[in-house]
């Protein structure tokens, strides 16, 4: 897990959005570059819920731009890159299919092992239950002997007896199947695998002609880059009615501290928006953060020059 993927990372550009498909890249960016993105895919292990989501990870254009500017990543036009499927070499294809088959075998073996483990576990539990049942039966029998007049107590005894015999028969059956299972191991069916990424079979660093220019970013990029450079983790702000939600550390472990909204330096800001933001922020126990670069886009050469001039203000409802 601690291994770093080879740089630069390719960010997939699909239909105007920036996506990541490699789990190693996702964890690496989170760990080393404070970039979280938003998981948008279905988790195959628990597909019927919306609380935990899986790959792919969607990056904001700001995040993609920041990584490209840092030299950590490049943007790859996946549609063009996947045209490479047409020119796959025969031997590469075979090697890839063999590789998938090995993966499938491995998965099948792991699954079979786990099933076996579970069976052993449940057998053990049954054994324990049976032992307990016998103990209860003994106790009940003793009790029944002591209070022979009370007819109610005798009934559970018979029940316990029945269940004990039931368990015994189950146990016999399963132990029989257990022995047969170990003596003749059934040939494992190879699981088919749907791989997560297309690299392989496509060659790893994507060809230079598939690379795209730096992503276009909204006017709020300087604020994003500024907060990010201070160590904040930023995520899209829709949940809190702002542009970015700023977390002091990894959102896995920390609550966010600020709801951030960007404005240009000379832009008129409606006082009502400040009041709204302040109330909203206080309501969810966060600070309302208003910030922006002091230079306009046409005053500087690149967006990076604006980042250094960002000033931020936090607004809190004083409640006087």
């Amino acid at each position: 897990m601690e291994s770093a993927p080879s740089l630069p990372i390719s960010i997939s550009y699909v239909s105007g959005r920036y996506l990541l498909f490699s789990i190693d890249v996702v964890t690496y960016l989170r760990r080393e570059h404070n970039i979280c993105g938003v998981l948008i895919g279905t988790l195959p292990q628990i597909p019927q819920q919306n609380v935990f989501l899986g790959l792919p990870l969607e990056l904001m254009p700001e995040e993609a731009r920041l990584l490209v500017d840092k030299g950590v990543a490049c943007i790859v036009d996946e549609v063009k890159a996947h045209d490479g499927m047409r020119s796959l070499l025969e031997e590469d294809r075979r090697a890839y299919l063999r590789d998938l088959e090995t993966q499938g075998q491995l998965a099948a073996r792991i699954l079979a092992d786990r099933k076996e483990q579970q069976r052993v576990q449940s057998l053990k539990e049954i054994d324990e239950k049976r032992a307990k049942g016998l103990a209860v039966k003994a106790a009940k029998a003793a009790q029944a002997a002591a209070e022979i007049q009370a007819t109610e107590t005798s009934r559970p005894t018979t029940e316990a007896e029945e269940s004990a015999s039931l368990f015994a028969s189950v146990d016999e059956k399963t132990s029989a199947s257990r022995t047969t299972g170990t003596t003749t191991p059934a040939p494992l069916a190879v699981m088919a695998v749907t791989p997560t990424t297309s690299y392989p079979p496509l060659p790893e660093p994507a060809a230079a002609e598939h690379r795209l220019a730096r992503p276009d970013v909204p006017l709020s990029y300087p604020l994003f880059a500024h907060l990010h450079s201070l160590g904040y983790f930023l995520s899209p702000g829709l949940r809190f009615g702002c542009q970015y939600v700023a977390y002091p550390g990894d959102p896995l472990r920390f609550h966010s501290h600020f709801i951030a909204v960007s404005a240009e330096w000379d832009e008129d800001v409606d006082l009502m928006n400040i009041v709204n933001g302040g109330r909203l922020g206080t309501g969810v126990k966060k600070g309302f953060l208003l910030g922006g670069p002091q230079k306009r886009r046409d005053e500087v050469e690149s967006e990076a020059d604006r980042v250094g001039t960002v000033r931020t203000f936090s607004i809190e409802w004083a409640g006087m």
Binding site: F21, V26, T42, Q45, L55, L97, A192, T196, P236, F254
Partner: protein, 468 residues
């Protein structure tokens, strides 16, 4: 003093919000997933509770450990493979050209067109049925399932005449993503690589069946399917998030942005939805009419055309007086003409029809949808829709009058339900929010008449009777 009060108030408020916190609104602690048994039991029904978060980072080892274990758990959860048991796997084939043209059915028939049916390819035709164009298949469909089995095709896919099920891109991608479908690259793309076209059938027949077809990766599926036939990532996010929790969801006629309504219908000439509360006639005729009405109408509360709204005279009932006082025109949604769903502008138009899990679905004859959905991307539209856009969107939905016993009794439920409604889904870089927009008809709720209803009987009704 004031502070203490406020703190107390805030304290309870905070507790309340914590209870109501929607789990999906927070970044999840994936450590919780470790308790679920991944590879064996896929139907784990209950989700674990959220763990505690810290206020801010500190340099303690404890915090670092907890964080790294959280990340490790997340890594493990996300690294879970998509496996298909050979016994029940469903194989589909990607058809980049869709079901439309005769050249498209990729596997077998393309070989026929290239090579005039050698005996080897006829054998293959038996294993993989060449899909033909069916009457029901949408031209946007681009993945076909030769042997459809399993529960998923009850609400998804369209079968052509030969029993091959065609999937729309979002359906195929959703199924692949949840690990229920194994999509293969077609031979037309990956097949003839080293050899040229005509040699392809020979190369294929030397291998067993479909051994040489490459499974499509998740990445490849996103690449090939998103952006096809109007499927944006936002639309897919909405589709899959509803699918995941059991709704059936189908494309609405408004899916295609460029489709517009025919201008032949003259819906705009229909009566105005804004009611005229008083018929103030113009000129002499109007006055005479009014007087005539006054003579005839015993309930009139003696108002004149130019005079006070409520004049002198004998007033017989409160209801009539209130009716006279209703001067401000109000919007009556029941009078608005039904607008063609295509007569709206994207993105404020209905692109999905959604059915509750309990609604029985027949793919061939879809019932009226339970919900209608419009999808909006915040990065492209960052302001609230204008009244025009919203009005057009609502008018394109059918009238859904608040009915039922509960609605009859509760005024606020009626107002909340509205007369037309639509679900707007706002997607901000992968974060989706569902908003229900309904047009409430306040003008239709006559509070003065409801005074005698069971709800207000104790206060209004009795008191008034005594006064009389």
């Amino acid at each position: 003093m004031a502070d203490a009060d406020e703190d107390a108030v805030r304290g309870t408020a905070v507790e309340a919000t914590q209870i109501e916190t929607d789990l999906s609104d927070e970044t999840q602690d994936f450590r919780l997933l470790n308790h679920l048994n991944f590879l064996t039991d896929t139907s784990s029904s209950s989700l674990p509770r959220r763990g505690e978060k810290d206020f801010e980072p500190n340099p303690t080892l404890l915090q670092a450990d907890v964080l790294s274990s959280s990340r490790q758990a997340m890594h493990n959860a996300l690294a879970h493979p998509r496996l298909h048991n050979p016994k029940n796997q469903v194989i589909a084939i990607y058809a980049p050209d869709g079901p439309g043209t005769s050249a498209s059915p990729p596997h077998a028939s393309s070989q026929i067109s290239l090579n005039s049916s050698p005996p080897s390819s006829t054998k293959e035709q038996n294993t993989v049925k060449p899909p033909g164009r069916g009457a029901m298949v949408s031209p946007d469909a681009c993945v076909y399932v030769p042997n459809p089995k399993g529960q998923y095709f009850k609400s998804m896919g369209q079968a052509d005449r030969k029993g091959v099920v065609w999937l729309l891109p979002e359906e195929a991608l959703y199924l692949l993503e949840r690990g229920s479908l194994n999509i293969r690259w077609p031979a037309s793309i990956t097949g003839g690589s080293t050899s040229s076209g005509p040699d392809e059938p020979g190369a294929q027949s030397s291998e067993d069946d479909d051994d040489l077809s490459i499974p499509m990766s998740l990445q490849a599926a996103y690449t090939c399917l998103i952006g096809r036939g109007g499927l944006t990532l936002e639309r897919f996010a909405v589709f899959s998030s509803l699918k995941r929790i059991g709704y059936a969801i189908v494309r609405a006629p408004g899916w295609n942005d460029s489709r517009t309504a025919d201008d032949s219908s003259d819906t705009h000439d229909s009566p105005n939805a804004y009611t005229q509360p008083l018929l103030r006639g113009a000129g002499l005729a109007g006055i005479f009419g009014r007087i005539f009405k006054w003579i005839n109408d015993p309930r009139c509360t003696s108002s004149l055309a130019a005079g006070p709204v409520i004049g002198y005279g004998i007033h017989r009932s409160y209801a009539d007086i209130y009716q006279k006082l209703a001067l401000i025109p109000w919007y009556d949604p029941t009078l608005t003409p039904q607008r063609d769903p295509l007569d709206t502008t994207a993105p404020f138009r209905i692109i999905f029809h959604v059915y509750k899990p309990s609604t029985p679905i027949k793919k061939t004859a879809l019932p009226t949808p339970d919900f209608r959905i419009a999808v909006i991307n915040t990065r492209e539209h960052d302001s609230i829709p204008t009244l025009d856009q919203l009005g057009a969107l609502l008018e394109s939905t059918p009238l859904d009058v608040p009915r039922g016993e509960k609605m009859e009794r509760h005024l606020y439920m009626r107002l909340r339900h509205g007369y037309r409604n639509v679900i707007m889904v706002v997607v901000d870089q992968g974060v989706t929010s569902f908003l229900r927009v309904a047009d409430a008809a306040f003008g239709k709720e006559r509070i003065y008449e409801a005074a005698n209803a069971p709800m207000g009987a104790k206060k209004g009704g009795n008191y008034r009777k005594k006064k009389r």
